[in-house]
Amino acid sequence: MPVRRALNSFILISSVFLFILALFSVDDRHENQIAYAAALPQSSNPGEPTPQMSISDETCLGCHGQPGLTMTLENGDVLDLYVSGEDHAASIHGQKGYACVQCHTLVGNYPHPAWTAANRRDATLSLNPVCYRCHSGQFEKAQDSVHGAALASGNQNAAVCVDCHTAHTVKQLTDPKTGELLPSSHVLIPQMCAQCHNAIYQKYATSVHGVALIDENNQDVPTCISCHGVHNIADPTTANFRLNSPKICAECHTDKKLMGKYGISTDVLSTYVADFHGTTVSVFEKQSPDAEVNKAVCYDCHGIHDIQRVDDPVSGIQIKENLLVRCKVCHPDATTNFPSAWLSHYIPSAENNRLVYYVELFYKFFIPVVIGGMGFLVALDVGHSIFMKYQKRKKSLPPTPPSQTQVEEVQNG
């Protein structure tokens, strides 16, 4: 017995020990993931340049300011090590006085410690985490984004900070006081995304929004990030994105001030929600946001990136034939009359959707007449019988208890 007990307690203690060990090892692995960021020297206030810099930009540019400075990576890729001092000085980092070594923390003094990368992309990916030092919020958002997920799953082409912002010519994009995009930034955004998503950019560039942005630098139209988000760009192919998408469009299209400038109705969302597709979509959006729903959302009819004016003479969906093409995606047997089954965002009136309007009007009168008429007769009946009962009781109180014959007398009388 004591042997078994000792064995039992040994197993217990050792399993607890193993469990704790496992916990620590999990913790270790997690730390390894951000080891790079942690290894960077942390200044007391990461927003401010650290004053005591041992190596000046001039020192770096002494070599790296010379065009033609390159190094060959493991796979034979040639990495350009030239940095234009003027470009850096013009960038937001240069303007604010940030020095080369504040990002390039691992290069140390000359001669640099040995450093190489498998290929050029690998070099970018290994240097990119330095952004985390100052821009941890944006960096973490990007890690949660569809790009971050793609990178984590091994897609090395997934966009990282420098792919959009560049490494040495980083521009100020937002107003530092308000956090709003600068007027000059809007037009740059689609160009950034176009580096990888060119086919989509081409569609966008011909859309009603894209044309206004590119041709007129219109500040009201959405750019890529208005719908997809900035750093935490979500996967737009999920059921969740689809169900939520009408809200994205509604953000601008229910803004009375904004739409008033262009004479566009702000009833588009409410009329969509009131109609069959929208009712279902809006309910599931609230109740089961990850449900696969095949009901049409805004972009199924209006297009995703190639959104055109509804009154476009060629492809506008105000023309029923054009709308029918969209209908047929889900209702393949639909014929010419079918698109009119959709109320086209109109509130039924004598001009638009007349049939619905008149049905509604009919019931507006019919219901009060029916309820009023019925209620009147029933109320009279109730009143009458209560009165008769009261009368009967008063009459029959002194002499005889009420009998069946008496009731009939009253009723027939």
């Binding site: 599931f284 449900a291 639909a334 009359n337 009119s340 049905v359 019931y363 029916v370 309820i371 009946d381």
Partner: protein, 242 residues
Amino acid sequence: MSASIRNEEAPVRAVHIFRRFTLSQRWEHWILLLSGSILLLTGLPQKYRTASWSQYILSTPDRVKAIQTIHHIAAAFLILLVLYHLGKGTVLLARRKLPGDIFPNRKDLIDAWKMVKFLLFISKEKPVYGKYNFEQKVTYWFLFFGIGIMVVSGLILLFPIFVTRFLPGGVVPAALMSHSTEAVVAMIFVVIWHFYHVHLERLNLSIFTGKLNEDEMKKYHALEYKRLMAQTQKETETGGKS
């Protein structure tokens, strides 16, 4: 309508029981009651999709699909009932045997007017009725046309692509509007009018039992009672079969 006569012993008093509804009519009422209730229960959550209780019930696409399937099955029963009812009416009409009691006539208007006057204590004369009083006729015809609207608009909503081959697209949202509104009208009608007359005013279970007793006949359908009694007397006198 024949009257069966049952003689009881001891105090010599003949109690007449009157057959008011045939077995087939009672079955029709049961099917109407059940399919109507199911249609209403499965239809209202679909109508009030913006209400939280409805969203609680219809929270997932699967549930919507399920409730719609139940709705369509119940609707199929109701449509079969309508076809049977109309078919029977047509056959009886062709054989010149369709009883005319349910059809509205001038007397109903006069009766209604008399009833209002009676209820307002203007007149002491209560109208006397035949087999169906004006209130019962209103019930029948209101639901007759109501169900007609529900069936037609429901079929349009079920087959919008087929329907728009022949009709303008506007009939689909119009059908949606009338389907959901008429349903509520019918519900209010049944609750206020029908329930009041068969439960509160007096408990009238003749649609389930098929029978009315002599007192009820005398009191509520005096003309019909008189007619039936006269007919029975004639038949017993002449020895004809009832």
